[in-house]
Each structure stands twice: as structure tokens, then as C-alpha cells.
């Protein structure tokens, strides 16, 4: 293996010593053996053995791949990816306009970021998604579980109960309308207690706890393999106050983003983050932009910005790899996140014009 020593994941002090001693490729290291290695660089035999194990693992990984073995590699052609994407499900949000601009709903294996001013509905959407991910497949859902990591303390269980109850009722209505056997069977498991018991809730108080939680997530997810959604409500909050060193913050955030994308990819789950807004003071005006800086903007694959407009809540799709940018209006009712219904007393619009975004509720589920 002609891997250079500089490219192997060893500790920097060890790497410096190896370079000083004149080792260049991994093959030379393997040839020397642990005793020779410990003598040459002056480290203990255990350290030399450990280092050689790491090197051997890397080289074996390489060899397996060149020989054509698959293993746990993430390599495939675009055609295979296309087939995979077409069979992948989406997590619907119960607001058909939002689902449309997202291309069907919140996508699995991608990080979606929701930014918005306080009170616009980010936590509501997160709670709605935590319930929606559990909808059985015959109703158009992904039948998964949810992990909710809360940093702001805004998770209200009573609200989740309301949302879940509305969702269950909705599914009952569809089942009655369609009268199919599998619907009935699925409804037996889709009850209020089940929904609540499949939302795993974690509370983190500062950024170290958040980082630790995210780094421990892969282990948790391998034990609970049905998890299809990870929500982190308030990723900006622990990083915004009390941070003197901005470059450290950027580094930590980037490491966090990489870890989240690995989780999303390996476990085929969607990751949803909520972010706050901050004011940028330009030359002549000030604008509201998402917090945590420019470099954080690259972490999320899909970015949604929620904002107010004269008492109406709007959602803008700002960044997406496959959909066009657009804006829609939404509404938050006692049942949760919903489409905008045309007002009962039409004061601004022409009376006979049907709101093109409104669709009858029962047809929404047939996806």
C-alpha cells in the first residue's frame, strides 16, 4: 500500500516523529513491525502496536475496495442512487403547500434547517414532524420513530398529545372512507400511547452536552434501528451566548454538521434543526439573516425560512438541491401545522376564486 504516512489517522505527535525518522509510506511501517518501530522512534511497544493496528485497518479497507468488495462503503453509481431515491419515503407535514415546495415532504438522509423569528412556529413544526414520522406506511408515512433533542426547553407534552390525537383521528377518517384491511391492522398499533412512547426525548443544557449527545447518537440509533427522524430544537441557543472564541465555535459547529450528516446517511433518517435569526447591519439598512454565521449556512442541505407578513405566517424555501425557491403561507391550528384556509368572511379576495393552495383534507393522505 503506497499510502503516505501523512494521510493516516494517527496522533499528530506520533506523525511528527515518524516523519523525522524518515518513514514515508504505510508499507514501510508495516514492514518494520512493532519492535523495530518502537526502537526507531522511541515510543513504547504498546503504542507502536496500536499505531500499526490503525495502519493495518486503513490499508485493509483500501485493499477490500480495490478488489471490488463492497463492505460498508458508500460508493455507487448515479443510477443506483436514483432507484434508491425513488423508493424513499418523505415525512409529510400535514400542510400540503409546504410538502409541495419541499418536493413531497421532509426528505430522509438530508439535513433540513428551519430558521425563523421567535414565535413563528418552528417548534410546532418539529413536534408535528415527530408525530408524522410514525404514520404507518399504508397511509403514506414512513413508520419510524423519532429522537427529539431539546436545548431550549420548549417541548410541551400536552401540545404533542393534541397533535397526535388529531393525527390519529385523521387516519381513522381515511380508514373508514377506504375500508381496507391493512388500514385497520395498522390503526391498532397507531394509538396515542404508542406515538408518545416512540418519541425519545433528550434535554441538553449547554453545548458540551449537545456535542456529547450527538456523538453518542450513532450507538443509540444502532440499538433503535427504527428511528427515522432526529430533531434538534434550538441548535443556535447553546452556541450563541457565552462564547468568546469564535473560531472554536466555527470548528465545533462544522464538526457537529459532519457528524449529523454521517448519522443521516448511515441510518437513513432525516435530521431537522431549528435556528434563530439575527440582524445584520448593512450600509444603509438592516436585514434579518439566520444566526450562527455564513459557514453554518453550508451545513444544511435544505433551508426553510419562516417569517411574518402582516399577521400571515409565510415559509420560504431558500436552499434546496432539487426544488425551486418559493414561498407559501401556512397556519397553526389547535390540531397542529396546517394549510391556510380561505377566510370565512372574504374581505380581500374575490369571492368566487378558489384558493389554489387549498385541497380537500381527505385527499391529502393518498400519496
Amino acid at each position: 500500500m503506497q499510502r503516505e504516512v501523512g494521510t493516516l489517522p494517527l496522533a499528530p505527535a506520533l506523525r511528527a516523529r515518524l516523519a523525522a525518522a524518515g518513514f514515508q509510506t504505510a508499507q514501510e511501517l508495516l514492514d518494520t513491525g512493532p519492535c523495530g518501530l518502537s526502537k526507531e522512534i522511541g515510543i513504547s511497544k504498546e503504542e507502536a502496536l496500536e499505531a500499526l493496528q490503525v495502519v493495518r485497518q486503513e490499508c485493509h479497507g483500501d485493499a477490500a475496495r480495490t478488489a471490488g468488495g463492497s463492505g460498508a462503503t458508500r460508493k455507487c453509481t448515479a443510477l443506483e442512487l436514483l432507484e434508491e431515491e425513488q423508493t424513499q419515503g418523505f415525512i409529510i407535514t400535514f400542510c400540503s403547500a409546504l410538502d409541495n415546495i419541499l418536493g413531497g415532504g421532509v426528505q430522509l438522509t438530508k439535513i433540513t434547517e428551519i430558521c425563523g423569528a421567535p414565535g413563528v412556529g418552528k417548534t410546532q413544526l418539529c413536534m408535528q414532524l415527530a408525530v408524522d414520522v410514525q404514520i404507518p406506511e399504508c397511509f403514506g408515512g414512513v413508520a419510524g420513530e423519532a429522537v427529539f433533542i431539546d436545548t431550549e426547553g420548549s417541548f410541551m407534552v400536552d401540545r404533542v398529545v393534541d397533535i397526535a390525537a388529531a393525527c390519529v383521528q385523521h387516519c381513522h377518517l381515511i380508514a373508514e372512507a377506504q375500508q381496507e384491511e391493512e388500514h385497520g391492522k395498522a390503526l391498532e398499533t397507531f394509538s396515542l400511547e404508542n406515538i408518545l412512547s416512540h418519541i425519545y426525548y433528550f434535554r441538553c443544557h449547554d453545548y458540551t452536552e449537545l456535542l456529547a449527545q450527538v456523538y453518542l447518537l450513532p450507538e443509540f440509533l444502532s440499538q433503535h434501528s427504527k428511528v427515522r427522524l432526529v430533531v434538534i430544537d434550538g441548535i443556535a441557543f447553546p452556541f450563541r451566548h457565552d462564547f468568546e472564541d469564535l473560531s472554536l465555535r466555527t470548528r465545533l459547529l462544522n464538526g457537529l454538521a459532519q457528524q449529523l450528516i454521517i448519522i443521516a446517511n448511515d441510518h437513513k433518517s432525516a435530521v431537522v434543526l431549528t435556528n434563530q435569526m439575527t440582524t445584520r447591519i448593512g450600509q444603509s439598512q438592516s436585514t434579518l439573516v439566520p444566526a450562527l454565521g455564513e459557514s453554518w449556512g453550508h451545513a444544511a442541505t435544505v433551508r426553510l425560512i419562516f417569517h411574518w407578513d402582516n399577521g400571515q405566517r409565510l415559509a420560504t424555501l431558500y436552499k434546496s438541491p432539487s426544488q425551486k425557491e418559493s414561498t407559501i403561507a401556512y397556519h397553526i391550528t389547535s390540531h397542529g401545522f396546517r394549510d391556510v384556509q380561505p377566510p370565512a368572511v372574504t374581505h380581500s379576495r374575490e369571492g368566487t376564486e378558489l384558493n389554489p393552495r387549498k385541497r380537500p383534507r381527505t385527499e391529502e393522505e393518498k400519496q
Binding site: 494521510t7 480495490t66 460508493k75 453509481t77 462544522n254 442541505t301
Partner: protein
């Protein structure tokens, strides 16, 4: 700095090495740069043997000077120019992407870097029928969007076909083949990226005939996502890894005549408030051409699909030219 070892060249025996080491000569560089008469005296080895060994070592380890004219001829025959699929971008890049070079696309989030990369991959895979390796480190690769672009491109080209049904099937087959020529690898961390590049180099140098076929382009989206977690702080190993990566990319591009496309982020300059490319000054020497993508409207309140691409660094064109792209 290779350690002297028995068998490196004929005439270098184990005893010789032990004697040399006892006198402080451990690597090839030490050997070649020391005074041989002195060494012969101290180690009681024959001068002739040492000279012979030195000649062989020099031949093995030093670089060959190349003639300028020979280099030009070689470049003319091996460099290819790959069209990007968008005529205005081609115009900006002096008719396309040059093989043997690293080109960088930079822009703010949502400015269209991944889209341009997908467009280029679609054009090379469909139009030139060459293989493309797409290294994705952000999870932004969507195969359905690539398929959409391929469909749009084949419909443009197949206008002359007579039979409608035959044309549709032909289009479909062409698109499937083009999708198969794009290989996607997900790398989320610098070591995975380096091992993927190493594996690519092994495969290309052994010329293994697999599904890879003739590779012409490597797209890395994005380089800053893997390097950012390492930069900064007191340790300088982040910079070292970044330079290792840049060396890998450049040697791959040069040795195997590939076009390498890299995407980068932009950060905000703290003093002036202007946008500047991420990864700092050291990285700015790596790509030979840099294109900055920005959207026409700077705020998100009025979204638009118009994008402007401006040339920030190029060995061939004057910088500062701007063209409009439509995604």
C-alpha cells in the same frame, strides 16, 4: 527522506547500513549530501562502492529535468477541454474545463454550486460519454435532479430523430447509460477522502478495467466541509492535511489528465464585511481557476433564479468578467 535500507539498491548491504548509521547517516538525503571521502574514512568502507551506491540512489530518487518544448508537446497531446454544458460558463472559463488543472467554484449557501457541478457532470457524462467521479461530502447530491438535467439535455439533442417512439426509447437508454457513468462516493471526513483518492490513484495506475472505464473528471463537493473542522486552534495539523489533500488532487489531475472541480464556501471578512473564499490564503494557491457564484438579489426576501458567475482567478483570462447563469 527515505530511510536507508538493505536492498534499496544493489551494493547496499546490511553491514554497510549499520556502519553508516553508527556515524549518523540514516536517510538517503544524508548519504547523498555527505562528503564521500570522509565517510569512506570513518566507516572504513571502499570509496568506489560508496560512489556506485550514490549514483544508483540519485538515479532512483531525484527528479528529471524536462525540456520546455517536450513539455509543450506533451501538454498539447494530453490536455483536453471539457465543455461544462452552459455556454456562458464555457465562455468564462475560456471554452471549458481544462484537464490537468484544479478549478474551484465558490459561493454563499444557496448560490448554486451543487447545481453547477451536477450540470457539468451531466454534460460530460452524456455529451462526451466519459466517466465522472463525484465525491460528495455534504449530502447534497440528488440523483433525481441529475436525471432531470440529463432529460433536458437529451431532449435538446434528439430533435432530428424520425420515429417518436424510437426517439423516446433512445433517450431513455442514453440517460440510463449516462447515469451509470457517474460514480458517486460519499466521504464525510478528511481521512475517508484521502483514502478514496488513494484508491482512485491505485486503480488508475494499475489500469484495472472495471465499471470505471475512462475517467475524465473528478468533482469534489465540497472541500471546505471536510477541512473546516480541522483548521484553527493551536494545532497546525489541519493545514498539513489540507496541503496533503491539495497535493493529491494536483498530482491526480496532472498524472492522469483529469479535470478536477472543487467547491468551496465563502466567509465574511470581519473587517470589511465583504465575502471572501473560505480556507484562507494557503488554499488560494491550489486551484488554478476560481469562479465566484452569487445570486442577483442579496437578501432572501426576494428570491430569484438568476445567478452571476465572475472569474476571480485564472491563468488565461482577465479576471473580473461576469456572466449570467440560469439554473
Amino acid at each position: 527522506m527515505v530511510v536507508l535500507r538493505a536492498g534499496l539498491c544493489p551494493g547496499l548491504t546490511e553491514d554497510m547500513i549499520q556502519l553508516l548509521r553508527a556515524n549518523g547517516i540514516r536517510t538517503v538525503v544524508d548519504f547523498v549530501s555527505s562528503d564521500l571521502e570522509d565517510v569512506a574514512q570513518k566507516c572504513s568502507l571502499s570509496y568506489k562502492a560508496l560512489v556506485a551506491v550514490r549514483r544508483v540512489l540519485l538515479a532512483q530518487f531525484s527528479a528529471f529535468p524536462a525540456n520546455g518544448a517536450d513539455l509543450y508537446e506533451e501538454l498539447k497531446s494530453s490536455t483536453a477541454i471539457l465543455p461544462t454544458g452552459s455556454p456562458s460558463l464555457d465562455q468564462l472559463l475560456d471554452s471549458g474545463l481544462y484537464t490537468g488543472e484544479v478549478t474551484e467554484l465558490m459561493g454563499a449557501p444557496g448560490s448554486g454550486k451543487t447545481q453547477v457541478c451536477l450540470g457539468i457532470a451531466a454534460s460530460v457524462s452524456l455529451g462526451l460519454k466519459q466517466h465522472v467521479l463525484f465525491l460528495d461530502s455534504t449530502g447534497g447530491f440528488t440523483a433525481s435532479r441529475l436525471y432531470q438535467m440529463l432529460r433536458a439535455q437529451t431532449e435538446n439533442e434528439e430533435e432530428q430523430a424520425s420515429q417518436v417512439l424510437g426517439r423516446l426509447r433512445l433517450c431513455f437508454v442514453l440517460q440510463l447509460e449516462a447515469l451509470q457513468r457517474v460514480q458517486v462516493e460519499r466521504v464525510f471526513n478528511i481521512y475517508e477522502l484521502l483514502s478514496a483518492l488513494q484508491e482512485l490513484r491505485d486503480r488508475l495506475s494499475q489500469q484495472v478495467v472495471s465499471s470505471m472505464g475512462p475517467l475524465k473528471m473528478v468533482v469534489l463537493d465540497s472541500v471546505s466541509a471536510v477541512i473546516y473542522p480541522l483548521l484553527g486552534g493551536r494545532q497546525s495539523e489541519g493545514l498539513a492535511l489540507m496541503m496533503q489533500l491539495s497535493r493529491e488532487l494536483k498530482t491526480l489531475a496532472r498524472e492522469f489528465s483529469l479535470a478536477v472541480v472543487v467547491t468551496n464556501q465563502v466567509t465574511r471578512d470581519s473587517s470589511t464585511g465583504l465575502l471572501k473564499p473560505a480556507l484562507g490564503r494557503s488554499w488560494s494557491f491550489v486551484p488554478s481557476t476560481r469562479v465566484l457564484l452569487e445570486s442577483k438579489e442579496s437578501t432572501w426576501e426576494r428570491a430569484s433564479t438568476q445567478r452571476a458567475a465572475s472569474l476571480a482567478k485564472s491563468p488565461r483570462q482577465p479576471t473580473g468578467t461576469q456572466v449570467e447563469l440560469d439554473i
